[in-house]
């Protein structure tokens, strides 16, 4: 048996290996979908750091996703000769700054107030993106072409799907691992404990406001990275990347996957993208299904897919009874 401590690393390694062989196994169409899943997985992971770890329900995460998406699109169009790295770097820098500034304003509130404010701010950003036609393309959006990837010793053409898929796998994969690592660090643990007992943390001398601001900025930058790849993937960016819908999308993914674990939201992203691709082909009433899934899950499986999997696993391993902890998890808020 492998030491418990090393299991996550093994898991990560396996995921990368699995990802690496996918272009051989999958047809182009599915590879395309998988790329989208990976991008959204990072977006969902970043959101879960806020919701699942710090207990902050934000309705404004698309601000950062969209900001990253637009930064890449606008900079690629207006800065001739900008490299892929440069565009991505700009997106991260931009979202870090925006995260820090908005975080300073918004984090003065908690709970439902925070949710409401983030929603209002998201609407503001979306309105600006729609109105500022000369830069953002307004309703028409912006089309971009992926530049080639320069690695110093060689240049890789990014026009094809497979090469872009590998690029996504490596960069986004690394970002996800970094997020996971973040939760294991002292900083991450601080945030975790903060959710459980903020008063006690304050008592012990932690500045919870600063911790929260750092986390908010960090998740913003990560979402910005996801947004950057969203533009690169579709080679297109429009105001829907920054719309409130994009926030509800990530909320749904995170919630369906389960906020209780780090890996749950990734599963949520996968299910969401697959469902969206098939359901919206089958029925034009898919918002209804989305609503039903939401209500059903809130009422009966608040722990998301993770909870179901845990339940099934418990059945197999012969442990009886459901895990009490999930049912009362949010009880104290």
């Amino acid at each position: 048996m492998i030491a418990k401590k090393n299991r996550p690393y093994l898991f990560i390694a396996f995921l990368f290996a699995l990802g690496a062989v996918m272009p051989v196994l999958l047809r182009q169409y599915h590879l395309n979908m998988l790329t989208e899943i990976i991008v959204f997985a990072l977006y969902a992971v970043s959101y879960n750091l806020l919701l699942g770890y710090a207990g902050l329900l934000s309705f404004g995460h698309a601000m950062f996703f969209g900001m990253g998406a637009f930064t890449v699109a606008v900079s690629l169009i207006h800065i001739p000769g900008l490299s892929l790295w440069g565009a991505i770097g700009l997106a991260i820098a931009m979202t870090t700054v925006v995260g820090f500034v908005t975080g300073g304003l918004l984090l003065r509130h908690k709970g439902a107030y925070f949710a409401l404010l983030t929603l209002a701010f998201n609407s503001l950003f979306c309105a600006v993106a729609t109105k500022w036609h000369t830069v953002t393309g307004g309703d028409d959006g912006l089309s971009v072409t992926r530049p080639d990837l320069s690695l110093g010793f060689t240049t890789i053409n990014m026009a094809g799907l497979t090469s872009f898929y590998y690029f996504t796998l490596v960069i986004i994969g690394a970002a996800i691992v970094f997020c996971w690592y973040f939760t294991q660090t002292a900083m991450g643990q601080t945030v975790l404990m903060m959710r459980e007992n903020e008063e006690r943390m304050k008592f012990l001398g932690y500045n919870t406001n600063i911790s929260r601001l750092i986390l908010f900025t960090f998740t913003g930058a990560v979402a910005g990275l996801a947004g950057a790849f969203y533009t690169l993937h579709f080679q297109f960016c429009s105001q829907s990347a920054i719309s409130v819908d994009m926030t509800t999308t990530v909320l749904l993914m995170t919630f369906v996957g389960g906020t209780g674990t780090f890996w749950g939201p990734m599963m949520g992203a996968l299910v969401y993208v697959v469902l969206q691709n098939y359901l919206s082909d089958i029925t034009d009433r898919w918002p209804l299904f989305m609503g039903l899934i939401f209500v059903f899950m809130v009422l009966f499986i608040p722990g998301g897919l993770t909870q179901i999997i845990q339940y099934v696993r418990n059945l197999f391993s012969g442990r009886n009874g459901t895990d009490k902890s999930l049912a009362v998890k949010e009880g104290s808020s």
């Binding site: 107030y113 409401l116 209002a120 503001l124 209804l288 608040p302 009880g331």
Partner: protein, 286 residues
């Protein structure tokens, strides 16, 4: 500025409608700390019920009475059987629940009534016009403001002149304590939520003839109503009154004075208020 009075009237009418929509929202938010995403969907439901009643009877006043009652019942059922169940899980789950409900209600409406705008005409006395400030002005717009004023005064009387009002205001401060003092807070909450729903239905009936009734009407008003809450102060009824009127006038005069900025003005106002007074104009510090 000879147009001043007319544009002021325009602002009052739209501000009044905004208040009607946000009053229930802010009440529920203030009392129960639930940000009800389904509020605008219920407002839409009110408009559609009204459409059907008008088609069947042609009686606008009748639908103005029946629709809020229907929404009251729907609100009570939602609170009793859905919202209360997730209350123990905290506000995240409450928000998500109302969020899902908003989707469901919107889709059901599209299913039942179709996807295109429906015409609602008040007709009769209210459909007429009056001469005011030397121009012809639709009476209905004045009626909107009058109903908003009436609702506002009624709510203020309940809150500040009755024992129920004391209980409600106490519940805003600390609902658990009200419960521990021997009041059936769950019942109070159910009543508040249902009343909020009824108000949204009332607003829907009023809005139908002005804005026409269509599935997108919910989302369009929701963000405006949220901005009213942010600007006015979380859960403050007086704040909602002031913020609704400010936003109504801002949009009206904004169109006249800064046509290029009209959409952004509202958000600009919100940002300024947030920076200067984060808890809103009339909000208590959290």
């Amino acid at each position: 500025m000879s147009d001043f009075p007319v544009f002021f009237l325009h602002g009052l009418a739209y501000g009044g409608l905004l208040f009607l929509v946000s009053a229930g929202l802010t009440l529920v938010f203030g009392m129960m700390n639930v940000l009800n995403f389904a509020h605008a969907a219920m407002y839409m439901l009110g408009a559609y019920f009204s459409y059907t009643i008008l088609r069947m009877t042609g009686q606008f006043w009748l639908s103005l009475m029946i629709c809020p009652l229907l929404l009251f019942v729907i609100g009570a059922v939602i609170e009793r059987f859905l919202l209360r169940r997730v209350h123990v899980f905290g506000h995240v789950h409450e928000l998500l629940l109302t969020f899902g409900l908003a989707y469901i209600i919107t889709e059901v409406v599209k299913w039942v009534w179709g996807n295109f705008p429906l015409a609602v005409n008040v007709g009769g006395f209210l459909g007429g016009t009056v001469e005011i400030f030397g121009i012809t002005y639709p009476l209905y717009r004045i009626f909107i403001f009058a109903s908003a004023a009436l609702v506002g005064i009624m709510m203020a009387l309940i809150l500040y002149r009755t024992r129920l009002g004391i209980i409600l205001r106490a519940a805003v401060n600390d609902s658990e304590m009200v419960n521990a003092l021997g009041f059936n807070v769950p019942l109070v909450f159910m009543g508040v939520f249902a009343f909020g729903a009824a108000l949204s239905g009332f607003a829907g009936v009023i809005a139908g003839p002005l804005l026409s009734t269509y599935p997108g009407m919910a989302n369009e008003i929701l963000i405006d109503a949220f901005v009213v809450i942010v600007v006015g102060g979380f859960g403050s009824l007086g704040g909602a009154v002031v913020a609704s009127l400010i936003i109504g006038e801002l949009q009206s005069f904004g169109v006249l004075l800064f046509p290029k900025l009209s959409l952004a003005l509202v958000y600009l106002l919100m940002s300024v208020v947030l920076i200067i007074k984060p808890s809103g104009l009339f909000g208590e510090k959290q």
